[in-house]
């Protein structure tokens, strides 16, 4: 099975304020967008982040061929347990997920 990074042009993550991280998957084409949109479930992403699925926000944005998923930060930004002040490292977690086809 391919991974998200094999199909997408770019996957980035960034803080959306101190309490959220948002992951933007730039699919690059309508075809990749369809495959990622359909093959990457919100449930699987929630499991990756060890976070209840109902807390995630997901936006499948066809006009940009972007799948965007926002997750409450696993650690609030800058707390003692936080490992990544700007939240950019979490992109790898999603980029390395498998696409079900």
């Amino acid at each position: 099975m391919p991974e998200v990074r094999d199909l997408a042009e770019k996957v980035r993550s960034k803080n959306a304020g101190p309490f959220w991280v948002t992951v933007d998957i730039f699919c690059g084409s309508a075809e990749a967008f369809e495959r990622i949109k359909n093959g990457l479930t919100t449930k699987a992403v929630a499991e990756r982040f060890d976070t209840p699925e109902q807390l995630l926000k997901r936006f499948d944005i066809q006009s940009l061929n972007v799948v965007k998923i926002s997750v409450p930060r696993p650690s609030v930004q800058g707390t003692i347990s936080d490992r990544d002040m700007h939240g950019a490292g979490w992109a790898a977690l999603v980029a390395e997920m498998q696409i079900e086809e």
């Binding site: 990756r48 926002s70 609030v76 800058g78």
Partner: protein
């Protein structure tokens, strides 16, 4: 038409001088720049200081003061000094006065402060005028009183008050990134929908275009539309780059909550005017019932001492997790035995750089690194205790063997002393909004003739 020039995403990041000159020649009504955000973490708000070097800030700010003077328009900065706390605002006011003195110039400066005394927030909490956002830490009076700084994010109303003083320069404490851009068009009668939308697209400077480093962009509002023009030679805005910017640092790409309402861009249209400019229509502002401002607060979470050791021996690289876990257990025991600390007074953590130091338990990849950095973190209730336990951790990170049978190893310390006192570490402790009768109730405005 209303025209705002945005030199870059933040003061301190630099801007393209040729592009700025073009912007000045286009006679903007305002030059607006953001001075900060929470993005660099709670320490800046906790301490009330800027992240950027004074030298960079002064140089760039002097350039913008000159630009505004030549353009004949006001200059506004929001979230001055990274965090927008009063002390950071004062720091930029001092820099401004220094520049004016050096140039033999004078200016009228409006200083908007966003600081919230703890008792104001405590009273608001008691009166049910505080609403938590999701996710929000629990708050109570002692917690609020333990914050070293609390600020509220100003919106367009407060920035408009500051501009209405006729000031040449507005130096504002914490504001939303967008408010400093949206205030003037709204005051001049532009619909808040396109005003806020353009501000969100423009607040990071040329990040909404190609060549994002170039910084400088211009926004023109006319009727219900706005046009975005990047001004650097090789920067182009396209419907894709502009609409994609709504994704950036936003949990929701369609709805943006601001003081007094919500921007809704679900129906927005992005049209290329030519190769470089994009025109946007269809942005909607949904006015809220009542008026609230978001709060940010930071407080000391403990004091930290860190020790970095680098492990190169392949046997230890392979078994680093076991080794680190054993060190934490043994050093914790030793700290409990040899100091008066209890288990609640400190934590010891070792992050394995090269293994999972960014993602921790969420890491899924396993690799075979050449070396591993063992970053020991001691966090304690006092700086003395953190340092003392850092010193207890030092010999373990230098010499701890995996088993009793093997020869005592020695790992690489890059520094002497190996333990580094980081002082207080801060945490954000508010994700709440505070309701206000009048937008200026929680803000102060002062005008200086400097």
């Amino acid at each position: 038409m209303v025209r705002v020039l945005i030199p870059s995403g933040a003061l301190g990041l630099g801007y393209d001088h040729d592009a700025l000159e073009r912007g000045i020649a286009n006679k903007p009504d305002l030059i607006a720049i953001d001075g900060g955000s929470t993005d660099s973490g709670p320490s800046y708000l906790g301490r009330g200081v800027s992240k950027y070097a004074r030298s960079s800030t002064k140089l760039e700010w002097a350039g913008l003061m000159d630009a505004a003077r030549r353009a004949g328009c006001p200059l506004v900065i929001g979230t001055a000094g990274t965090c927008g706390a009063g002390s950071a605002v004062d720091w930029l006011v001092e820099i401004t006065q220094e520049i004016l003195t050096e140039r033999g110039e004078t200016a009228k400066i409006a200083v908007l402060k966003s600081d919230q005394p703890a008792n104001r927030v405590v009273d608001a909490l008691g009166a049910n005028w505080i609403t938590p956002l999701t996710p929000a830490p629990d708050i109570d009076a002692p917690m609020l009183e333990s914050c070293t700084n609390i600020v509220a994010l100003a919106g367009v109303e407060q920035i408009t008050c500051a501009l209405d003083t006729g000031a040449d320069i507005v130096i504002a404490g914490r504001t939303t990134d967008t408010a400093i851009i949206a205030a003037l068009p709204i005051a001049k009668g532009i619909d808040p929908g396109p005003a806020w939308h353009a501000a969100k697209i423009g607040e990071c400077g040329a990040l909404c275009a190609t060549n994002p480093q170039s910084g400088v962009i211009q926004i023109d509002w006319e009727g219900a539309a706005f046009t975005l023009t990047p001004l650097a030679d090789d920067a182009r805005a396209t419907p894709h780059t502009v609409s994609a910017h709504m994704l950036y640092e936003n949990a929701d790409p369609y709805l943006l909550h601001e003081p007094g309402g919500t921007l809704d861009v679900t129906e927005a249209r992005y049209d290329a005017l030519d190769d470089t400019r994009v025109r946007v229509t269809g942005s909607v502002w949904r006015k809220a019932n009542g008026y609230n401002v978001k709060l940010e607060g930071a407080r000391v979470a403990g004091y930290q001492t860190v020790v970095l050791a680098v492990v190169r021996d392949p046997h230890y690289v392979t078994n680093a997790a076991t080794w680190a876990k054993d060190i934490i257990a043994k050093c914790t025991d030793k700290a409990l035995q040899r100091t008066s600390a209890t288990a609640d007074d400190f934590t010891i953590e070792i992050r394995l750089i090269g293994q999972n130091s960014v993602l921790g338990d969420l890491e899924t990849r396993v690799a075979d690194p050449v070396e591993i950095g063992a970053l020991g973190l001691v966090t304690a209730k006092t700086p003395e205790l953190a340092n003392e336990i850092g010193k207890l951790l030092n010999p373990y990170l230098l010499h701890h063997p995996l088993t009793r049978e093997e020869e005592v190893p020695t790992f690489a310390f890059p520094f002497s002393p190996a333990e580094i006192d980081r002082g207080p570490v801060y945490e954000f402790c508010l994700n709440h909004v505070m309701w206000l009768d009048d937008p200026m109730d929680a803000f102060t405005l002062e005008v200086l003739d400097a």
